[in-house]
Amino acid sequence: MKHRLNRRDFGLGAAAAGAAIVSAAGFGRARAAMPPVKLGILLPRSGFLALIGQQCQRGCDLALAMLRDSGYALELMNGDTESKPDVARTQAEKLIRDGAHILIGAFESGATAAVAQVAEQNGIPFVINIGSDPAITEQGYKFTFRNFPTSVMIGRNGLARYEDIFKATGTTPKTAVIMHVNDTFGQSMMRGINALAPKMNLPFKIVDTIAYDPQARDLSVEVAKAKAAGADLHMPITRLNDAILMIREMVKQRYEPMGIISPGSPGMYERQFLKVLGKYAEYCTANVPWLDPKQELTKELEKAFYKAYPEESFDLNIGYSFEGVLIAADAYKRAGSTKPQALVEALKATNITKRVMIGGAIRFDEKGQNPNQYSAVVQNRNGKPTVVLPKENAELAPVFPMPGWGHRA
């Protein structure tokens, strides 16, 4: 298509060329004879989700290095969604224009939805590394493939783990209170839980549900309400900052439930949480999809991760981003061509057993969703999020009830 050049385009073109040269140079290792597939990575690199975006980027960068060493031919092109859907859209268009063969992203549901649309309109395959809104795979898109569980799946799998914890530790709480952040993710999880809880025969009764503003500056009122409910079990659905606020308030208000176990939300396993709360972060538990400590690939990835980023936390954002790139590179290898239709066919036929997350093989159903999702029980132990259930993947045994705030070492 004829393109009206202007100075801005020159600048951008030079930038793209520069980036391509930089990424291609210095990697003179063994490579497949095929030309590298261009993967457009769309993540929130700026804006309030930037921290997570950077985590995901680390996963992608490590995938690049490790997969190249294993003989895959790939190249990364980075786009910033600025944590905004309309920017995600233009940046996705930009990456496609600059030659991306497969798009990967985008963490935040609004941005992911926008990119999925662009992918569909342009006929370019899109692999979702992280993005839990169920609606995205219900649109009938043919070019979108999601490896991550939907919020409904997270909720269901998360709820299922409670019984396992209580069986393993021999203690069962009678009542529970849910405290959830009132944003897209939190509301989505709550809807799932409200629908599933009555069917799942949970051993405890949910006595109160407290919603709070994602921008809340302090959670003293909400925690006071939770404490007043007098429940045995505290079930938080949070993001990172509010998780920190919540636990701090719980300590200040001397609210000591038997345990703090999330049905499947981020926050409590993140490095910042562990760093800030120190001993009070111990025993906080989340039922989330997690890295499989028993898989070879995971061990390799963990080693490479801590070598490159000794101060960061090795969590599911790394794992799923790694898998996103793996899926794309694997599909290209089998397709043998960068033609969109060939890539889509290859993606549909994906069946990867050597992966890094806990769960069955990576494959996609007719909606483009990976149905093999599993949540593990991840408990903070010794300053590190540790898999305690299921037993086959566990590194330590679960602890429940948790020691009181005053009894922390």
Partner: protein, 286 residues
């Protein structure tokens, strides 16, 4: 009992809000400038306190005098150097100027510190005083005491010092002040500096209570406006009272109705006040 605990927490936090709003009230009351960069200046102070805490291990309460002084100079310089030219200009130009300053401050902090939340680790962060069944969060108590001290100091300044009286004269009668020979420009700059100093102190105190990140600034600017309008623009006790009221109402409304609706309640209050009693509870009719 639970209600009482919540109200107390709300009051304590409200005191800090009050100090922050005080700065805004002072600036508007005297210079008629609407400081849309108010929250941003406070966040700047919060980061300064954070850095001092990180590098030198000094508690924000101890760093407070230094930061207050620094913010005063910043405010003075800003007013004298830039904002002063816009006093007589139309509302929207003033607004845009301060908006630009606000954006620059937030962006600079973003570039310097990144978007992640920072906080200070205090040894006494998890302590609380217990009085029967009442629980007083130690940190909140300190912050509230600091805020009240700051407000009292400011009040004393305006009441008892010559400079303070001169500024009040300026506010009451702009032309008359010039007629009697007061250097209005300088007084305006000092006032802006004082407002900035207030917000600097409030920032140090607030850092004890919440985490700081560049994006919280606009929420606080808005909150400051709500408080000031509630209490009455230009009224110092009004700002403090407004702060306490907002602190308590946020706490109670969060408790009685859905907590996530807290901020809507504050906005509804603002709308009500603007329509029914725009001079606020303690303000004078303009």
């Amino acid at each position: 009992m639970l209600y009482l605990n919540i109200m107390i927490a709300g009051l304590l936090t409200g005191a800090v809000y009050g100090l922050m709003a005080l700065g805004l009230s002072v600036i508007f009351g005297v210079t008629r400038i609407v400081n849309f960069a108010h929250g941003e200046m406070m966040v700047l102070a919060m980061y300064a306190a954070y850095v001092i805490n990180q590098q030198l291990g000094i508690d924000p309460l101890l760093a407070l005098p230094l930061i207050t002084a620094a913010l005063f100079c910043l405010g003075y310089g800003l007013q004298r150097g830039l904002i002063n030219r816009y006093i007589a200009r139309p509302d929207h130009e003033q607004f845009l100027l301060l908006l630009a300053i606000a954006i620059l401050i937030t962006a600079s902090l973003l570039m310097g510190f990144g978007p992640d939340a920072r906080n200070v680790q205090l040894d006494y962060a998890y302590d609380s005083y217990q009085l029967g069944a009442l629980l007083f969060d130690k940190v909140r108590v300190f912050a509230a005491l600091g805020a009240i001290a700051g407000a009292a100091a400011l009040w004393g300044f305006f009441r008892f010092t010559r400079l303070g009286k001169a500024i009040r004269a300026c506010a009451d009668n702009h032309i008359g002040a010039q007629v009697v020979g007061l250097d209005v420009k300088r007084l305006y700059a000092i006032t802006f500096g004082l407002g900035a100093a207030c917000v600097g102190a409030a920032g140090c105190l607030l850092l004890l209570l919440v985490d700081v990140q560049p994006y919280i600034a606009s929420d606080y600017t808005l909150l400051a406006f709500i408080i000031v309008i509630l209490g009455g623009l230009g009224s110092m006790p009004g700002a403090l009272l407004g702060g306490l009221l907002v602190g308590v109402s946020e706490a109670l409304s969060g408790f009685i109705i859905v907590p996530s609706f807290k901020s809507a309640f504050s906005y509804a209050l603002l709308i009500l006040v603007l329509l029914v009693r725009p001079q606020g509870l303690l303000g004078r009719r303009a």
